[in-house]
């Protein structure tokens, strides 16, 4: 019985075309292209307002060289946000529940920040491995610990996104199964469970947006240290 709950994360394919390809390309249809009019239509204005707000929030701490990264970080943010939110609709497939996809997003970008730092300012980047003011006997241990924490960053980025979304989808499926199963037996308990389902759905919408934001925020922080 437990095995069938994980089936929702396998990408179904029809006539040889797996759904993950459509699910990854569909968000492009939802984004309204921006033409440089003075006053756009309502939907376009809302979209550009949101995008400007998020860009300002993420890019202000970075210096001028870091602002070159704003296009890739914002498009990554938009992609993750739309993919996560679309996954909450019925029967849809969320590509970000696949660890392979999240690692493919996290690892190259983290590596890019690391290599930028090591190439342009190697001593400052290595200097981040030792926090200021540590007592001298602790220095070797601390450098080892900081190196480990540096190397585990891409893994943490990918797994955080995967685990949060997978856990959310699993919980939704479990609780809705319980609600439907309890309906003929104890309707009161079924209504209570459906209240829990409502709260969980609101939580999932929040988690979808927060996880996308956290992913990009951490990448911008790693960039701040290195650029």
């Amino acid at each position: 019985m437990n095995l069938s709950f994980f089936d929702q994360f396998a990408s179904p394919s029809l006539m040889g075309i797996p759904l993950i390809i459509i699910a990854t390309m569909f968000p492009t249809l939802l984004l309204i292209p921006q033409d440089n009019r003075w006053i756009n239509n309502r939907l376009s204005t809302i979209q550009s307002w949101l995008l400007h707000m998020i860009t300002k929030q993420l890019m202000i701490p970075l210096n001028k060289k870091g602002h070159k990264w704003s296009l890739i970080l914002m498009s990554l943010m938009t992609l993750l946000l739309t993919i996560n939110l679309l996954g909450l609709l019925p029967y849809t497939f969320t590509p970000t529940t696949q660890l392979s996809m999240n690692m493919a997003l996290a690892f190259p970008l983290w590596m890019a920040t690391l290599l930028t730092g090591l190439r342009n300012q190697p001593s400052i980047s290595l200097g981040h491995l030792l926090p200021e003011g540590t007592p001298t006997p602790l220095i070797p241990a601390l450098i080892l610990i900081e190196t480990t924490s540096l190397l585990i960053r891409p893994l943490a980025l990918g797994v955080r996104l995967t685990a949060n979304l997978t856990a959310g989808h699993l919980l939704i499926q479990l609780i809705s199964t319980a609600t439907v199963a309890l309906l003929p037996i104890m309707p009161t308990v079924s209504i209570l469970t459906s209240l829990i389902l409502l709260l969980l759905t609101i939580l999932e919408i929040a988690v979808a947006m927060i996880q996308a934001y956290v992913f990009v925020l951490l990448l911008s922080l790693y960039l701040q240290e290195n650029i």
């Binding site: 179904p12 394919s13 759904l19 239509n41 679309l86 609709l89 029967y91 849809t92």
Partner: protein, 75 residues
């Protein structure tokens, strides 16, 4: 006007096979057709002055139906 120049909505049901014979079935032709269909949907329902949730919700509902179709064997 002549059959090959009319759009799909203007073609009568009896003339449909003849119209299909005149249109361009190559990869580029199909892609152009898809692009035209999408831009006409987009301009009619989404790219309007005071748009609301309706245009995008239709798109999302269609996406849900498509996903249901893809998942049908597994349910």
């Amino acid at each position: 006007g002549p059959l090959s120049e009319r759009r799909l909505m203007d073609v009568r049901l009896g003339e449909l096979p003849a119209w299909l014979a005149t249109c361009d079935i190559s990869a580029q032709g199909l892609l152009g057709g898809v692009r035209k269909a999408w831009s006409s949907y987009h301009d009619k329902y989404i790219n309007v002055r005071r748009g609301g949730p309706a245009g995008i919700s239709m798109l999302l509902a269609g996406y849900c139906l498509l996903s249901y179709g893809w998942n049908y064997q597994h349910i």
